[in-house]
């Protein structure tokens, strides 16, 4: 089960990376980044998972004593939370930069945004 | 002290007197020889004397400036100095001159002294032909200087000395000891260089610009010219004596007069060789003569030097 999750994470990351590297459309590249991020988030979650584990929130279903035995690792969950927000911030910023780029040079093709080189 | 200085002065005068007269006569003779070759009668043998006296007697004269005035002085000083630094007759006190001041290197570099002064004097005259001639002459000079210096180096290396006296001393005891025979390549290189040094055909392009107006550098006249002519004789003599010393065993005999005779004979032959070549060949352009000197003569010089190195 977890292995499937790992493989999924890697496949999603690969798709994202492929999108970044091969799509010429600026927005699609950015989407590629989002996909890559998502893959990493899946990976993090997978790493925190333990067989048969439950959410590390203490309530009726999970008492303080059981937490150590049954709860999943709370650390990756926390990390994922942070990573998601950061990913969001970067994506938003990228999109706004893309908008400004297209305004200067009205094409969405990344190949044609090459004023700076060498 | 005083007596020794006076004796030396006397000796110097004698030496000077001998070389002056001998050289002037030699010039006259050679002019005649050249004329004969060309089918002319030619000038009298004493014509150089007449020229000098006439020029010195001229009353009109102009000067273009101090350097112009000093140019001929430099020139004559150069000729005299060159001569005085060479021992003319081996073993003779009278004709040893001032050879104790320095060795063959001194002589080689003192040759420039007069030429530089002359060039400067002529330069101040402001006539364009003068620097043209000087440029050519200097250019040619550097070229023949190379085989000549190689020859000198070979000789010096051969005898382990720069001292002319010692070089001559080492050549005593028969003609087979002469450099000409012990070191023929050096002699050949030196003698070819000598052709350039004496500015006869085919290396006379140097004086070409002067031929149109008058003798030595263009603007010189009257006593200036006379002085230059005097120098020409002495300088010629000095050079021939140097070559005689370097390559042909010098002049040595217990009897001073016989020794002088030997000297006269040897230098006469050396000069005759120059004239002989001169009348046989047409004139080179400057760059041609440069290439010539840097060709075969230099090669000969190199062979001579390399011989010594091995």
């Amino acid at each position: 089960m977890t292995q499937l999750l790992y493989i999924l994470a890697f496949v999603v990351m690969a798709i994202g990376l492929w999108g970044i590297l091969s799509r010429r459309h600026l927005i699609r590249m950015i989407i590629g980044f989002s996909i890559l991020d998502t893959g990493i988030h899946i990976l993090l979650v997978a790493i925190g998972y333990r067989k048969g584990g439950t959410a590390p929130i203490l309530d009726e279903a999970l008492s303080k004593g059981e937490a150590l035995m049954n709860a999943v690792d709370p650390v990756p969950s926390a990390l994922v939370l942070t990573a998601i927000v950061i990913g969001l911030a970067v994506t938003a910023l990228m999109l706004s930069f893309a908008v400004r780029m297209v305004q200067n040079n009205p094409t969405m093709n990344a190949d044609e945004h090459k004023e700076l080189k060498w | 002290m005083l007596t020794s200085i006076l004796t030396k002065a006397l000796y110097t005068l004698i030496s000077f007197f001998v070389i002056l007269n001998y050289s002037l006569l030699l010039l006259g003779t050679m002019a005649r020889v050249r004329a004969k070759v060309q089918g002319r009668i030619g000038q009298p043998v004493w014509q150089p004397y007449i020229d000098i006296i006439k020029n010195n007697a001229r009353r009109s004269g102009v000067t273009h400036g101090i350097m112009f005035y000093l140019g001929p002085v430099f020139r004559l000083a150069g000729g005299l100095g060159t001569y005085f630094f060479i021992p003319v007759i081996f073993g003779s006190k009278i004709f040893a001159n001032f050879s104790f001041s320095g060795d063959v290197l001194l002589v080689m570099y003192f040759i420039f002294f007069g030429q530089l002064g002359m060039a400067l004097g002529a330069g101040e005259s402001g006539h364009p032909y003068s620097p043209i001639g000087v440029a050519r002459g200097l250019a040619q000079m550097t070229a023949f200087e190379l085989p000549f210096s190689l020859a000198v180096i070979a000789v010096a290396a051969q005898y382990g000395s720069f001292s002319i006296t010692e070089i001559v001393a080492a050549q005593q005891g028969g003609w087979q000891n002469w450099v000409a025979f012990t070191n023929p390549f050096a002699m050949a290189a030196g003698m070819l260089a000598f052709l350039g040094m004496s500015m006869n055909n085919p290396f006379s392009i140097v004086i070409a610009p002067q031929e149109i107006p008058i003798g030595p550098p263009t603007e010189m006249h009257s006593s200036f010219l006379g002085m230059l002519q005097t120098n020409r004789a002495i300088f010629n003599g000095a050079k021939m004596v140097l070559f005689m010393n370097l390559f042909f065993g010098g002049a040595a005999h217990p009897n001073i007069f016989i020794a002088l005779g030997i000297m006269i004979m040897k230098t006469f032959l050396i000069y005759l060789y120059v004239v002989f070549v001169g009348v046989s060949f047409p004139r080179f352009r400057t760059e041609q003569s440069i290439r010539f000197f840097l060709g075969v003569p230099t090669l000969l010089g190199l062979i001579a030097v390399i011989q010594q190195m091995i």
Binding site: L58, P74, A78, V90, A92, S96, R100 | -
Partner: protein, 233 residues
């Protein structure tokens, strides 16, 4: 084409390099040594049932503070990028106004969403959710209003003031932790409260609320900037 092949080759190589990572990744039965501490002592330390929140807000509070900063910086960057950018008149004409249905729906949904958002961040220490999630819900409420055209724009002054104050308070609480409790961002300078109560777990709910306010106002401002193509006219 060559480029494409090169891409594929390099991707394959990269995959080959990373493949060993997948090996030996079996099912885990144990959590990490770090997690063991959180799971065993976290609840007692902070009196917060949601251990993830404990980790996020307290143990790794510096991360969260950073996270807030990231969002803040991104928002500032976006607003700078759109600053002074005017929409073309033509373009403006082309945009259709929102439909009646959307407008009414948005007006109806907004208060519910807004309150839901507040609920999420105030209960972050008790149940799944927290400041970010709540903030995002609030921002989506604002987005709904903006899209539907119910309000022409979100007041910049308001958002920036809210944002600044929330942020500064967050820092202030962190410093309070430093001076009143054991360390920076230590929430225990406020009473532990009773287990599972809304005012429990020290300053955690306060922090989460501030984060919620901050994220909500920040994202609203960003959306506003993007929609009106010019945060400050």
């Amino acid at each position: 084409m060559l480029k494409r092949i090169l891409l594929i080759v390099s991707m394959v190589l990269l995959a080959l390099i990373l493949l060993p990572l997948l090996e030996g990744l079996g099912e885990q039965t144990h959590v990490s040594s770090l997690a063991e501490y959180y799971l065993s002592s976290g609840a007692d330390d902070l009196n917060s049932p949601n251990l993830v929140t404990s980790v996020v807000v307290t143990y790794r509070g510096l991360d969260t503070l950073g996270e807030v900063t990231v969002l803040f910086a991104a928002a500032a960057g976006i607003m700078l990028a759109f600053k002074g950018l005017k929409m073309d008149e033509k373009e403006r004409e082309k945009t259709q106004g929102p439909s009646e249905l959307l407008a009414s729906g948005a007006s109806l949904l907004f208060p519910i969403l807004f309150i839901f958002g507040i609920y999420i961040f105030t209960h972050g220490h008790l149940s799944p959710g927290g400041g970010f999630q709540g903030g995002v819900v609030i921002a989506s409420a604002a987005l709904l209003l903006l899209l539907s055209g119910v309000i022409p724009g979100v007041s910049h002054l308001m958002t920036s003031l809210l944002e600044a104050l929330a942020g500064a308070s967050y820092v202030a609480i962190g410093l309070l932790g430093l001076y009143l409790a054991a360390g920076f961002l230590d929430p225990r300078f406020l009473p532990r409260g009773e287990w599972s109560g809304i005012f429990s777990a020290g300053a955690i709910p306060v922090i989460y609320s501030l984060v919620g306010i901050k994220v909500g106002s920040e994202l609203s401002a960003v959306l506003n900037a993007m929609i009106s193509k010019g945060g400050e006219k």
